[in-house]
């Protein structure tokens, strides 16, 4: 695989994996990716030090790093992050299982499609966050509402893509497999499932991104005692911009890691290797 390929494969993902060819040195790639951040940081620092804005609202990087360090060492930031990740995994886990099952059922059976499609198409265009007040009203403030909402919202793209994926399985694969004696059960396991996998993975990836966005927001609204969203929101009251920026940085890192370490890897091992997604 050439550099070019790797870059395009990550285009849907986020950070372009600027993997250089084996001969190149990895730190050169690292520097190349880091220098824009250095430039931006320098600009930030310049503006902060010029004193154009109140220091409380526009702290220098030194202050932000100090806050980050203080919060990390005291274990507060890790605790917030752990709670957030737990909610994410719980909510997304529910959505992944339920969503893939419903989506496949819709793709396989006309009856299931007729039943679920209207419900899904009505529910999907409403932004997930708009359900938040309703969920809080019905299920109360706290963890249960947050996880349920995350699961509910992230299920839509998963259902939709699994359904499309099953529908998009090539007729010629089905015919070939039938000619080779695959019964319905085997057809499903050996042909429909792998054939629909590119779509299912796309759905899971979109679902996770959705879950992530909604979770941060719902943590602000649901008055949970811990969580990164809550930390950022709480910091506002005391004008702790430094705490806020630390929280945002952690959110960015977690979001990036989920994308890079989890999904890109799964894709490389399956659909990219099979040539079903242009790498």
């Amino acid at each position: 695989m050439t550099t070019q390929d790797v870059v395009t494969s990550s285009s849907a993902a986020g950070l372009p994996a600027r993997h250089t060819p084996a001969g190149d040195v990895w730190w050169r790639a690292l520097t190349r990716n880091l220098y824009p951040f250095v430039v931006v940081a320098a600009l930030w620092e310049l503006v902060a030090r010029l004193g154009l804005f109140p220091a409380r609202l526009f702290p220098s990087l030194e202050v932000v790093f100090a806050a980050f360090w203080r919060l990390t060492v005291s274990g507060i930031l890790p605790h917030h992050a752990a709670e957030t990740v737990f909610r994410l995994l719980a909510g997304f886990g529910i959505a992944a299982v339920v969503g893939v099952l419903i989506g496949i059922a819709m793709g396989r059976s006309r009856r299931a499609e007729d039943i679920f499609l209207p419900l899904v198409s009505i529910g999907a265009p409403i932004p997930g966050l708009a359900y938040a007040p309703l969920f809080l009203l019905w299920f109360g403030l706290g963890n249960f509402s947050a996880i349920l909402l995350v699961g509910f919202v992230s299920a839509f793209p998963i259902i939709f893509n699994a359904w499309t994926g099953v529908k998009a399985v090539k007729e010629i694969w089905v015919r070939s497999a039938q000619a080779m004696g695959a019964d319905q059960r085997k057809l499903f396991r050996y042909v429909i499932l792998p054939g629909a996998l590119p779509y299912i993975l796309t759905g899971l990836r979109l679902g996770l991104a959705q879950a992530w966005r909604v979770l941060v927001a719902v943590e602000m609204l649901a008055a949970v005692p811990w969580g990164l969203g809550w930390m950022i929101f709480g910091a506002r009251e005391f004008l702790n911009t430094d705490v806020m920026l630390s929280g945002i940085a952690v959110i960015a890192v977690i979001g990036l890691a989920l994308e890079k370490l989890v999904f890109q890897r799964i894709e490389t091992y399956t659909v990219v290797r099979w040539g079903m997604v242009t790498a």
Partner: protein, 255 residues
């Protein structure tokens, strides 16, 4: 009793433009190990007929008998190779594709891989066992498809213009390879094509079909000695004779 018999098969279907007779009263029988080509212009129903024999379409009337029994739907007594390269499963390697039918039959892993390896060797692809289809050229993919259809040892091999989407040079190579494979395996083959030279090169017998409605117009035995030389006078004569049966209907230039 003939190993394969097609008895008075017809298929009609509805289109927005009205009822269409796709195949009308097709009848023929086949000897074991015979190589039969069905030739005709596009739209003459030859592919439809093959799909009926394969069991993907149900005829409006008539029946297909294999080994004396009427067959209904698809079954492992028939192997199918389509024209579309995409027929291979992209998530399986060449070997994985070839073992598929055996896996469905429940053949143990070691044994089915052994068989698949032999089949891949037969189509000269043993070096590419572990390659995924998207790494293979069109011709190689079609060879995997042939190996895959042969692997579970069906009574008859059905081929629907398998080389039509290949370039002329590759197609020539593939025809030679197929003749060779057929010579070694002695399979009964039904081969659909619109290419007259291809039919003369491969077939023991050619069935000519005409469109509107799709009907069997002539049956021509081809008894040229094998391996055949496409440049010999006899070959070209046979080709001309076949073309005349097609009644001057537009046939793509024989490659």
């Amino acid at each position: 009793m003939l190993p394969i018999e097609v008895r008075d098969v017809s298929l009609e279907y509805d289109t927005p433009a009205g009822r269409v007779q796709g195949v009308k009263g097709a009848s023929f029988g086949m000897q074991a190990s015979e190589f039969l080509c069905i030739v005709g212009p596009s739209g003459c129903g030859k592919s439809t007929l093959l799909n009926i024999i394969a069991g993907f379409l149900t005829p409006t009337s008539g029946e297909i008998r294999i080994g004396g029994k009427a067959v209904n739907g698809h079954g492992m007594d028939r192997g199918v190779v389509f024209q579309d390269f995409a027929q291979l499963f992209p998530w399986r390697t060449a070997l994985g594709n070839v073992t598929f039918g055996l896996e469905m039959k429940g053949v143990p892993k070691a044994e089915r891989e052994e068989i698949a390896r032999k089949q891949l060797a037969l189509v000269k692809l043993e070096k590419f066992m572990d390659a995924y289809p998207h790494h293979l050229s069109g011709g190689m993919q079609q060879r995997v498809a042939i190996a895959r259809a042969l692997a579970y040892d069906p009574a008859v091999l059905l081929m629907d213009e398998p080389f039509a989407a290949l370039d002329a040079m590759t197609r020539d190579d593939m025809q030679r390879l197929l003749a060779d494979v057929w010579h070694k395996t002695r399979k009964t083959v039904i081969y659909v094509t619109h290419n007259v030279a291809e039919a003369v090169y491969l077939a023991d017998r050619v069935i000519v079909m005409t469109p509107h409605p799709g009907q069997v117009k002539a049956e021509i035995p081809i008894d040229l000695p094998r391996p055949r030389d496409p440049l010999s006078v006899e070959f070209l004569d046979t080709q001309k004779r076949l073309l005349s049966h097609l009644g001057g209907t537009a046939i793509p230039a024989a490659a």
